[in-house]
């Protein structure tokens, strides 16, 4: 049936386009395509160099905090993940989080604790007041590898201020969703669930602290912490808690999941620091995913200018 409609057999000679004309048209299409890409360049600079799907958010607000380094391939960003809620292997989250989050129900976020304006929100309502902004950040994992990722989302401080934290709000604690049905990794006791992370209030209010809802111009995928994740680029990756459902202002320093798992190995601050090594990983250098040679790791992952003042009187070896 299919072959009956094949027009090739029915074509007569005068139907065939002259080859010169054809070539001209081809050139025109190429030029037009080039022009289209060129005009699109300022807003989506990475689209042409990468294997990323075309972006749904094309006009993201730029940020002075964005790095100008080569971006890590989309493929690597979305298949090489640590997200134990979906398995302990690097490729497990991409395999096990395909249906996450369940889009049939709205994602709820609770903001509570030491604040005057607590509340529970649908993520859509929570995001409404904010303009989506792009932040190209370096991500340094405690395991000694790093990436450069174009996130988008909004500033954590902007959200926290709306909740009006009171004078007792010394820290901010974050929780990941606890739902072993949706997150099969939570059926194992490899970590204590739900995943908990925390920041000191001034760290949380620092303009670098970011809540991401997407990357590469599209909504976050499950493996990257959809639909809402923290990004603190001067700290090791595990501080950037994924799939957040709770934000709580507290007076006492929270105990994070990794602190519970290995208090001698993972501290509360977990700032990127080449001079403080982990028992398993020297932190002096890192392998940027996609690169062959290793590069030197920078103090605070190269964000000294923005965050060094937060730690002026602290012994960073003690407060690792």
């Amino acid at each position: 049936m299919h072959f009956k409609n094949n027009k090739l057999g029915l074509l007569k000679e005068h139907d065939v386009t002259d080859e010169k004309l054809y070539l001209n048209r081809r050139q025109f299409i190429n030029k037009a395509a080039l022009l289209a890409t060129a005009t699109a360049l300022p807003s989506v600079a990475w689209a042409e160099s990468n294997d990323a799907p075309s972006p749904t958010y094309k006009h993201l607000q730029k940020s002075p905090f964005s790095a100008s380094e080569a971006l890590t391939d989309y493929e690597a960003v979305t298949t090489y993940n640590n997200f134990y809620e979906f398995g302990v292997g690097k490729d497990d989250p991409a395999k096990n989080a395909t249906a996450f989050p369940d889009k049939s129900e709205p994602w709820r976020v609770v903001i509570e604790g030491e604040c005057d304006n607590p509340g529970e929100y649908d993520l859509d309502d929570l995001m409404k007041p904010f303009t989506l902004e792009e932040r190209i950040y370096r991500l340094r994992c405690v395991e000694g590898w790093s990436m450069v990722i174009p996130w988008h989302g909004f500033s954590l401080a902007d959200l926290l201020k709306q909740a009006k934290p009171n004078s007792k709000a010394k820290y901010v604690e974050f929780h990941t969703l606890y739902n072993p049905q949706q997150m099969p990794g939570q059926q194992s006791s490899v970590l204590q669930w739900p995943y908990v992370e925390g920041l000191r209030i001034d760290e949380a209010m620092n303009p670098l602290s970011f809540l991401a809802t997407g990357l590469y111009g599209n909504d976050l995928l499950g493996q990257n912490g959809a639909p809402l994740r923290l990004v603190t680029p001067w700290k090791y990756g595990f501080k950037s808690i994924k799939s957040i459902t709770q934000i709580r202002f507290v007076e006492k320093q929270p105990v994070s999941s990794w602190m519970k798992a290995g208090p001698a190995e993972y501290g509360f601050y977990s700032n990127v620091n080449p001079d403080v090594s982990h028992p398993r990983w020297s932190q002096a250098r890192e392998r940027r995913i996609g690169e062959f040679l290793k590069r030197k790791t920078e103090l605070f992952n190269g964000y000294q200018e923005q965050v060094a003042h937060l730690y002026t009187d602290m012994d960073l070896k003690k407060h690792f």
Binding site: D73, Y84, V88, K90, W145, V190, F292
Partner: protein, 197 residues
């Protein structure tokens, strides 16, 4: 199957993990961090071949599978082969042949210390694996030297146990296998000494 054909088959099968890794590397199938995959997989194969080598004697003892004697040396040398590639990847692609970095790393990170000692201990065993060396050393001395392999086995599983971040399932499986293999030997040894006395 003739013994020669058996040996050749085992040789080819044992080489397959290396072939698969090279194929994966050339076809970009080793994930986002291929160097890490190569290092981890060669290390795991070194440990697997070590345990397979250590399984030969118990299998002969329990099931009289004496044909395995013919391939024990080859299996041991395969363990050394995968361990050498593993070590080369570390020295080259992790440390870029920087001697002072390597020394610092050995001192700083306990699992590296264990791994390096383990590798160094494998070298004399590989060097004395030929029939000529057995003859030169004499069976008794050769046996004493090669009993190092038990400690290397223990070192190997400890090295693996120390390097995993949180999920210890895999190293625990290796520890259990090693415990069984060494347990059989201990049981046999204690029975023998009991009868002797």
């Amino acid at each position: 199957m003739s013994s020669r054909l058996f040996k050749i088959s085992v040789f080819i099968v044992s080489l397959m993990p290396a072939v698969a890794l090279v194929y994966g590397l050339l076809n970009d199938q080793l994930g986002a961090n291929p160097i890490e995959t190569l290092t981890r997989d060669t290390g795991e194969w070194a440990l697997r071949f070590l345990l397979i080598t250590l399984a030969v004697s118990p299998l002969r003892l329990l099931f009289s599978w004496h044909f395995l004697a013919a391939i024990r040396r080859m299996l041991g040398l395969y363990s050394f082969f995968y361990a050498s590639v593993h070590m080369l990847l570390y020295v080259w692609l992790d440390q870029f042949f920087n001697l002072s970095d390597i020394i610092n790393d050995i001192i700083e990170r306990p699992f590296i210390t264990v791994g390096v000692i383990n590798f160094l201990a494998l070298i004399p065993l590989a060097l004395t694996s030929s029939d000529a060396m057995v003859k030169r050393l004499g069976t008794e001395r050769w046996n004493r030297l090669h009993s190092l392999v038990y400690y290397i086995g223990i070192g190997g599983v400890i090295h693996f146990f120390m390097l995993v971040k949180k999920d210890i399932t895999e190293p625990v499986i290796y520890i259990a296998i090693l415990a069984v293999l060494l347990g059989i030997r201990l049981y046999r040894y204690s029975r023998r000494t009991l009868i002797a006395t």
